[in-house]
């Protein structure tokens, strides 16, 4: 595993969910550096550097945690753009969404998502899911070689 903390881009428009996700990772003492994007466009700007206020995240994230239902540019499109660009094509993308619709799930995998995690409503289940997600993708899973 890399010696530096894993860089993670969290694309999440809900401030409540963001709070609960960050709290779960904090409680799990996850060694991560987190950048937040509030919508799909902001995520693309952060990844590809088209945003004047924010240069592209450097280094590029080791993991993108992506909601589907996002303002401006939706999660499906963000996923497509990540996979279409060779600079980001190998970054693992975990879909973290309110949807547990099999149609959404299938579409995400077709578009190249690495994982599809429905957000549980129950607080305990939510924290467990978020913790496991964070631990697996930042500690257990080896990213693709740069």
């Amino acid at each position: 595993m890399s010696h530096r903390p894993a860089c993670l881009l969290l694309v999440e428009d809900s401030t409540e969910d963001e709070f609960l996700i960050l709290r779960a990772w904090r409680q799990a003492a996850l060694d991560v550096r987190i950048t937040i994007a509030r919508d799909g466009q902001q995520a693309l700007d952060l990844l590809f550097g088209s945003c004047p206020q924010a240069p592209p995240t450097e280094p590029r994230p080791d993991l993108v945690v992506l909601d589907l239902n996002l303002p401006r540019v939706g999660g499906f499109e963000v996923l497509e753009r990540i996979r279409a660009d060779e600079r980001t094509a190998l970054i693992p993308v975990v879909i973290l969404t309110s949807s547990d619709d099999p149609v959404d799930c299938a579409r995400c995998y077709q578009l190249g998502a690495n994982s599809f995690v429905p957000k549980p409503v129950d607080a305990h289940q939510f924290r467990d899911a978020i913790t496991r997600l964070g631990q697996y993708w930042t500690q257990s899973n080896l990213p693709a070689a740069p």
């Binding site: 809900s14 969910d17 609960l20 547990d100 619709d101 957000k119 409503v121 607080a123």
Partner: protein, 388 residues
């Protein structure tokens, strides 16, 4: 049989011809009218006096005058013209549709001396047929339009239910998550009453989650493809029964399954039917042990019905009608209904889901019960098993 002489004389034959509903006309092989009955007057508007000795061509519309020569040509060669549908012109100038049969008339020596023509006015008949065709087409179009509208409305409703259910989950997750955070981070500083209130918020949140999940299930079971396959009924029922037993955490009596006749259906959906019916059997067992018997019967048309019978709180005939509507609960908690968290909270969506699944199969579900004693639900899935 021999003809009775007085019924065979000319006057008698003339009377028959005159009283006929059809126009009966005779003409020479050159097309000159030689007889004209009363119905011919009615159909064409000309009296016998006006037509006798005149060419029949006066009845022909200009573009059809050639027809007369072709008809006469056939007659002269001894052939008939049968049920020929064409157009003629009445005295008042109106065109009418007629069905015409023309036959040669022979003299005693067998020579063709003329033709008899029987014409029936089919204008009204054709008009009615056309109206009927038009009405049928309109009806078909209306049915198609209405079906399209209903399909659209259904799709809209499903999309709405799904969207609402998804959108409701986000604030609920926040409610649940922040309640947990409050309990964990400040629980020690909260007065006892406040802790109780927080717990009540958490419980209400859980209840709402169950409700939303139920709505999503209800909505999903009307979407997606239904894939029929032979059902392993005993295995499906026992799997559901084991799930129910695990969820209740207690020992349940064995579930008796006797299903010798094959049934087809979507196995996943039929599994949901068993999940709902069997968990109801436990929830509504009252003080009695939840004893469940699953068996089959055949109706007059050899359709196989599956029965799920259990002892328990039961229901009356009125409740049996109402219980399939969403959010309808037959029994309240104080009537002995058990809320077993592992089985869902009894929000009145289970039987609505079951009914929708059965109806998606083209089947039917019915309920009969004896209050305080037993309940039975029976359903078929639209296809009868072949007689073995």
């Amino acid at each position: 049989m021999k003809p009775v002489p007085e019924f065979a004389d000319d006057a008698w034959l003339a009377a028959i011809i005159d009283s006929s509903e059809d126009a009966i006309i005779s003409k020479t092989t050159e097309g000159i009218v030689t007889s004209w009955n009363r119905s011919a007057e009615r159909v064409f508007g000309y009296s016998a006096g006006e037509m006798l000795g005149k060419p029949l061509l006066v009845l022909f519309p200009p573009e059809r005058v050639g027809e007369e020569e072709r008809i006469l040509e056939r007659i002269r060669t001894g052939l008939r013209v049968e049920h020929f549908e064409t157009e003629r012109v009445r005295k008042d100038g109106h065109r009418i549709l007629v069905s015409v049969t023309v036959s040669p008339i022979r003299n005693a020596a067998g020579q063709i001396v003329g033709a008899s023509k029987i014409a029936r006015d089919i204008t009204e008949n054709r008009r009615l047929q056309a109206s009927l065709r038009l009405l049928n087409a309109e009806l078909e179009q209306r049915v198609m339009d209405r079906t399209r509208e209903l399909e659209f409305a259904n799709r809209e409703m499903e999309a709405f239910a799904t969207a609402v259910s998804h959108d409701l989950r986000a604030p609920l997750r926040a409610l649940s998550g922040f309640t947990q955070a409050l309990q964990e981070d400040f629980g020690d500083h909260l007065p006892a009453d406040a802790s109780t209130f927080v717990q009540q918020i958490a419980t209400a949140g859980q209840r709402m989650e169950t409700l939303i999940n139920g709505l999503l299930d209800l909505s999903r079971n009307t979407r997606g493809r239904l894939e029929r396959a032979p059902l392993a009924l005993a295995a499906l029922a026992q799997t559901s029964w084991r799930t129910v037993a695990r969820a209740t955490g207690g020992d349940l009596p064995a579930c008796e399954v006797n299903c010798p006749w094959p049934m087809d259906g979507d196995p996943r959906m039929v599994g949901i039917i068993f999940d709902n019916l069997l968990s109801n059997a436990v929830k509504y067992a009252g003080d009695l042990p939840p004893r469940v018997r699953i068996y089959q019967s055949r109706d007059d048309s050899q359709r196989v019905w599956l029965h799920v019978h259990n002892q328990g709180l039961g229901f009356d005939a009125h409740q049996a009608q109402e219980m399939f509507k969403p959010f309808t609960r037959v029994h309240a908690l104080d009537e002995g209904r058990r809320d077993l968290p592992g089985l869902g909270l009894g929000l009145g969506l289970g039987l609505a889901t079951v009914k929708r699944i059965v109806e998606r199969h083209g089947g039917k579900i019915e309920a009969t019960g004896v209050p305080g004693l037993s309940a039975e639900l029976r359903f078929h899935l639209g296809t009868g098993a072949p007689l073995s």
